[in-house]
Amino acid sequence: MAMKVLREVGRKRSGAAWIGGSRGFADCAAAAMGVAERREGGGGTKAVNLFTAVNQALHIALDTDPRSYVFGEDVGFGGVFRCTTGLADRFGKNRVFNTPLCEQGIAGFAIGLAAMGNRAIAEIQFADYIFPAFDQLVNEAAKFRYRSGNEFNCGGLTIRSPYGAVGHGGHYHSQSPEAFFCHVPGLKVVIPRSPREAKGLLLASIRDPNPVIFFEPKWLYRLSVEEVPEGDYMLPLSQAEVIRKGSDITLIGWGAQLAVLEQACEDAAKDGISCELIDLRTLIPWDKETVEASVSKTGKLLISHEAPITGGFGAEIAASIAERCFLRLEAPVARVCGLDTPFPLVYEPFYMPTKNKILDAIKATVNY
């Protein structure tokens, strides 16, 4: 029974990703072209999935900067999600290597490497396992520049980590811990929604002179496929993107949740509700202006994320937008998020902020 439910959810997710990949995200492609001047390189595009896009970004990062390193648990043979495939063969085992199984060691080592002027691209195998590295990231990486008065910095640090639901991950292969890191001045938190975004945002994160936590939606590693430029390009950090224009309500999300929100938008459109969909992309420092402009227009806001609702980053967005748009808001800010439980295995379909939960909230907010 449970397996049947999960397969069902998997199919729904799969469909969402494909829709997003083939059509829904076509809008975002156009928007991305809007920042074409930020891009370098050229060449054509090729339809690839998300892990391949990440892999391409890592190849480019290592190729374009001899002082860059990729390491983490099991990255040497290509990584458990295949994101580091071919890197060790091409760039050698001094620059691409396995580390002992110790997240605080990975983070600490990466900080030291970055502080010496290198680009340290470290993988934490699952975001669920990032917590042993929490002290290194919060007390060390985030404060490295500030506490030294800019005598030292570890800006070359990028931590990549797969996050979020995957249909069968249970407590420890499903969590979305982004909010913890959004509470830490000095870190940047970036989450891509698709292969094209993943490649451009990852390259931007690696080259950003600040420590970045880059969460990759593991459900989309294989499911999400879209045309990705083969060359070297970056997408700007701290810029949200309106990926679907609308007039009745603003929806905000990031990562894998965009695909679910996109489906809800489609269904709402059938009921005559025009949704504006925004991908926040960088969670801190986040692009309040884009969100504010949209909510000023629609008068309604819905935020959706997989992480538990209480203390989630949606709460921060809700409070900020209430502050900025109070008189223009026509309904309370809605949040459709994960439940305040540990991430449950067989109950995953109940836990998740699914399309119909979102659709109901859209209708309730619009009809408020």
Binding site: T99, I111, S148, N150, P185, G186, S238
Partner: protein
């Protein structure tokens, strides 16, 4: 070279065993899981940097024991072998648990006796008169600096201080054995390393007062010094976080083929942190040229080492991680200097981490927020402050060489005292950084949320100026 030596040793051992097996032929004792027991390194041993140094040493020190290993094989104790991931193991019929400790504690390397005389037969790195005197005057400077800054805190002129009393030899002698290119990742009781590298007394005072000349821009508590110019990473309060960072820094030096190593300092308490384990293991596996320098001063604030760990101190941990280690008398300037000198050489030329445990005693309180007489005997402190003082012990040796006299001592102490008092007066008068520095350096550029908060704060300050200190220019 290193790879060749270890694999050659392994081949010799393999030949010996193979011969033994041929003589006896397979019998009932022959383990079925064992095929032809070839001990040579397999392909798996050669992956990346974590390749060649498994169990067999490859340097002079290890070579000295090579004969012993051969004899072991010859004695027939390793006749039965089986291969597990990680290498071949011999069988033993007796159920022997590895004991929790060695019968005898690891000995402590010493050069100077309590009276400052060279211990007969001790081996040490020679120091010139010039170097010896510079070390001595730096130790004295550190001592006086601690005394006066401590008093300044007691008078309420600075908010906090932390002395290095009793650990002057560790501070100065370890620094003297390094080169200026070596990267230092300190804990917080090593200001002498920074002093040795040329951080001026005025620079120390500026940090303590958090004034405009403080490189840290007044953001951290006193004693959190740092200097890019002097390759001394800025101190942070969390314990042992600098250890895995030192491994990353050392790995960078190795990749850049620099003639330099990283050194990181920590206390006995710090070895209980996960970061200590993480760092030693990462260093061993990545073969990073890093010196782990443990100041075992007996106390982690109020917790004695008996309540911190049950091992024979720190030095014994090294072997478990595959790291060469030494225990040294931390109050013996020449022993510390010699040990660090040798450690640096091995770390860089052989590409390996080294662990040093320096035995000492924290003569001062943990910090100005602590009264250590609440948890340890005043007599004990007094004994270490006087009879075991590393500075006077070293002075006896220096004076024994006729390199130093009482008149010079008096002059040095007076001039350092004057210089520090002057530095305090100057530091007190230098204004604080402006309010804008509250918001810079969080990121490389000030993001919009911080610009917004800055504007809002300025409004509040204009409305309620009396709520805010007047010494921070707005």
């Amino acid at each position: 070279m290193a790879a060749w030596l270890s694999s050659e040793l392994a081949r010799r051992a393999a030949r010996r065993i193979a011969g033994e097996l041929r003589r006896r032929g397979p019998g009932p004792w022959f383990p079925s899981s064992s095929t032809v027991p070839v001990l040579g390194p397999t392909a798996g041993y050669h992956r990346g940097f974590c390749s060649v140094r498994r169990f067999a040493g490859d340097t002079a020190a290890a070579t000295a024991t090579a004969e012993d290993s051969d004899n072991e094989f010859a004695a027939g104790e390793l006749q039965q072998v089986v291969d597990f991931p990680g290498g071949k193991l011999s069988f033993v019929g007796e159920m022997n648990f590895v004991p929790e400790s060695q019968r005898e504690r690891i000995k402590c390397y010493r050069v100077l006796d309590d009276d400052g005389g060279i211990i007969y037969s001790s081996r040490f790195q020679e120091v010139s008169k010039e170097l010896a005197l510079k070390m001595y005057s730096s130790m004295v400077t550190l001592q006086i600096m601690d005394t006066i800054f401590y008093e300044a805190q007691r008078q309420g002129r600075i908010s906090f201080y932390l002395t290095s009393n009793g650990e002057e030899a560790i501070n100065i002698a370890s620094a003297a054995a390094l080169s200026a290119d070596d990267i230092v990742l300190p804990q917080y009781r090593e200001p002498g390393v920074l002093l040795w590298r040329g951080f001026t007394l005025q620079e120390f005072a500026n940090q303590l007062f958090g004034n405009k000349m403080d490189y840290g821009k007044g953001r951290q508590m006193p004693i959190h010094y740092g200097s890019n110019r002097l390759n001394y990473f800025t101190v942070s309060s969390p314990i042992a976080t600098q250890l895995p960072q030192a491994v990353g820094a050392a790995y960078s030096l190795k990749m850049d083929k620099k003639d330099a190593c990283a050194i990181t300092y920590f206390g006995d308490g710090g070895t209980s942190e996960g970061d200590f384990h993480a760092a030693l293991n990462f260093a061993a596996v990545t073969e990073a040229p890093v010196i782990f320098f443990c100041r075992n001063n007996g106390w982690a604030i109020s917790t004695p080492t008996t309540e911190q760990f049950r091992s024979d101190g720190i030095v014994t941990r090294g072997q478990a991680y595959g790291i060469r280690s030494i225990r040294v008398d931390g109050n013996d300037t020449l022993a510390v200097y010699s040990a660090v000198h040798a450690a640096r050489e091995m770390a860089i030329t052989e590409g390996r981490p080294i662990l040093i445990e320096a035995m000492t005693y924290r003569v001062g309180h943990h910090s100005t927020s602590d009264d250590s007489t609440k948890y340890r005997l005043a007599d004990e402190i007094e004994h270490w402050r006087t009879a075991r003082d590393p500075v006077s012990r070293y002075r006896k040796w220096v004076q024994g060489n006729s390199w130093w006299c009482d008149a010079e001592e008096t002059e040095l102490r007076n001039s350092v005292r004057q210089e520090i008092l002057q530095a305090i007066q100057v530091a007190e008068r230098i204004p604080k950084h402006g309010l804008a520095e509250l918001f810079t350096d969080v990121y490389d550029q000030v993001p919009s949320n911080l610009r917004e908060q800055q504007r809002s704060l300025l409004d509040t300050i204009n409305k309620h100026p009396s709520d805010y200190p007047t010494d921070v220019p707005v």
